[in-house]
């Protein structure tokens, strides 16, 4: 398979309302603000696109994300409150946001991944030997056995 073989289908149906997406954008950007050459969560289309793929396959995260989006109040305080009082909910919400972020092919590229999904990397014929060049294994062998044999008798 090559990069061009990976097709990223949209998730089956939009799962969040526009209001929910707007709220998610604010909360998600607090978690992933961007920098180091990588976009913020909303810059990486987390609230508008990639979150759908996560929620489509994880009913547990879907429930958590919706519940968090219901919470009213200052977004920073909402997240800080969850983190302090409901770390599991915070963890699941953050996992959903980060999970969506890390699916974005642009983000993956920015992190150095060779493709938008795991790719073939067939080993070259002499690759295994190449990594052992310089006799790095010889010194291990030269030190001799390091096991305790089965006691006799």
């Amino acid at each position: 398979m090559s990069i061009t073989d990976v097709t990223i289908q949209p998730a089956s149906a939009p799962v969040l309302s526009e209001e929910q997406r707007a709220r998610l954008a604010v909360l998600a950007d607090l978690l992933i603000s961007g920098g180091a050459g990588l976009p913020s969560a909303s810059g990486a289309e987390v609230p508008t696109q990639w979150i759908d793929r996560v929620l489509a396959v994880r009913a547990d995260l879907d429930a958590t994300v919706r519940a968090v989006l219901e919470l009213e109040g200052d977004p920073g305080e909402v997240l800080a409150g969850l983190r302090a009082d409901s770390p599991e909910v915070f963890g699941a919400f953050a996992m959903a946001v980060a999970g969506a972020y890390l699916i974005n092919p642009r983000v993956r590229r920015g992190l150095g991944y060779p493709g938008p999904a795991p790719m073939k990397n067939p080993a070259l014929p002499d690759e295994a030997e190449a990594y052992l060049e310089g006799g790095i294994l010889d010194v291990v062998v030269a030190r001799g056995p390091i096991y305790r044999p089965t006691p006799q008798g």
Partner: protein, 542 residues
Amino acid sequence: MSTDVADVLIIGAGASGGVAAKHLAEAGFSVVVLEQGDWVNQSDLPGLRPEYEVLGGGPWHPNPNVRQRPEDYPINLDDSAAVIGMFNGVGGSTVLYASCWCRAKPSDFRVRTLDGVADDWPVSYEELEPFYRQVEYDLGISGQAGNPAYPPGYAPPLPSLPINMAGRVMAQGMNKLGWHWWPGYNSIPSQDHLHQKKCERYGVCMYGCPQGAKGSTDVALFPDALAHGARLETRARVARISLDENGLANGAVYFQDGVEKFQPAKLVLVGANGIGTPRLLLMSESAGHPDGLANSSGLVGKRFMTHPFGTSVGLYEEDLEDWVGPTGEAIESMQFYETDPSRGFVRGSKWHIIPSAGRPLGMINRFTMGEGGVADEPFWGEAFTERMKASVGHLIEWMIMPDDLPEEHNRITLDHEKTDSDGLPGAKVAYVTGENTRKLVDWNLQRSLEAHEAAGATKAWITNRNNPSWHNMGTARMGDDPETSVVNRWGQAHDVPNLYVIDGSQFVTATGVNPTATICALAKRTAAYLVENRREQKVSTA
């Protein structure tokens, strides 16, 4: 349903079930395998989908309580310090396993003699060695011969996979310290081998191999068993093993799509995993076996061992390209495997490196649970992208696999409140990490930080001292004495001579390595014994 009496009924189509089914079918036995799960379609595996890691945290999670598929049985962990997992389907847990292929070492079988703790096994490394060799061929093990951590002669059938950048960087660090390391052994073929295709290094092995490379038994072994006439019933959950009037096992009652059925057999082999096997034996209680089948010793379910392993990570400036698979072992170390009493504990640990970049979401816990002040540093907000950039492709993780000693209070019992989709009781795990295991993990983790430093890490820290290993062992231990063991040296139940346990339940101690090589070697040895002794073997004729 066929009511033909099988020569051999195997319960569970996992690692051990696959080994036994292939061997016995090829030897001409009529074999029926009952498996509660289904075949896994390669195209259904999550590994090549962009959201593979999210799927791996849900419907493909190793913990059945998270997966919650109809074929999973609940596992009550209220009293367990360890999180437990397995996969239920054809191939069993090998569908998800990382394929680290680790022979136990001679000292593992003589723990009492050498270290004065626990018990010796009734078998030795030398007795098991030919069976290790045979299953290594059948499961396409790649690795390097000549490892000084093992007796001479250990030569895997296929050449080693590349140790990749992370392996090389760490190997050089280990050399600086004069510490042992060796290219990893994996049940992942470096070239096309029998039913297995050459590994293409997608690096998603723990989400199931989309290439058909990994030596999971659905790919590597069951095709041969079926070609030799074995019958594999899927979605067939065994509720109890039944006995004839002579006290011999004569088959099993199972549920298939909600219908109760009976499979008669002359011999019964149980390979239902270190949790599923004691569960089934306990569910098979009867008037003659009021505490569960084959449990006159009272040890069925007791002495549960797992490998609550430690992890440490280091950040490296080098571009490690660490998404290149396989996610089996790149390198391992046996430097601290053998006992040194001056360390304040007995037994030891195998260390190994598995590439980490294929699981970028895992970085969250590595930072937010990190010791040495790492957890207190900012991770979310502006820090997130910086942390990801610094770690994805730049992080090496040591996994510290500890030996775990048997203790009777660590046990599996039945949970009658949480039942499976057929109404059968779930399993309840009671597990407390032993003091020796804790000390062993702590001490080795400290050494692993020294290894990171020697390898040039810009920063290194401990991420977890109690990772779930998904290794389930010891719950129907083998031994010579029927009062202190459930099965004998061949896996044969002391109480029921035509009932055999073939999985990791037999383990006397946990060993300090991943268990599947030893599970498969033991299953192979039992199968070979059954073929050789077919005339003397007592069988049910009822």
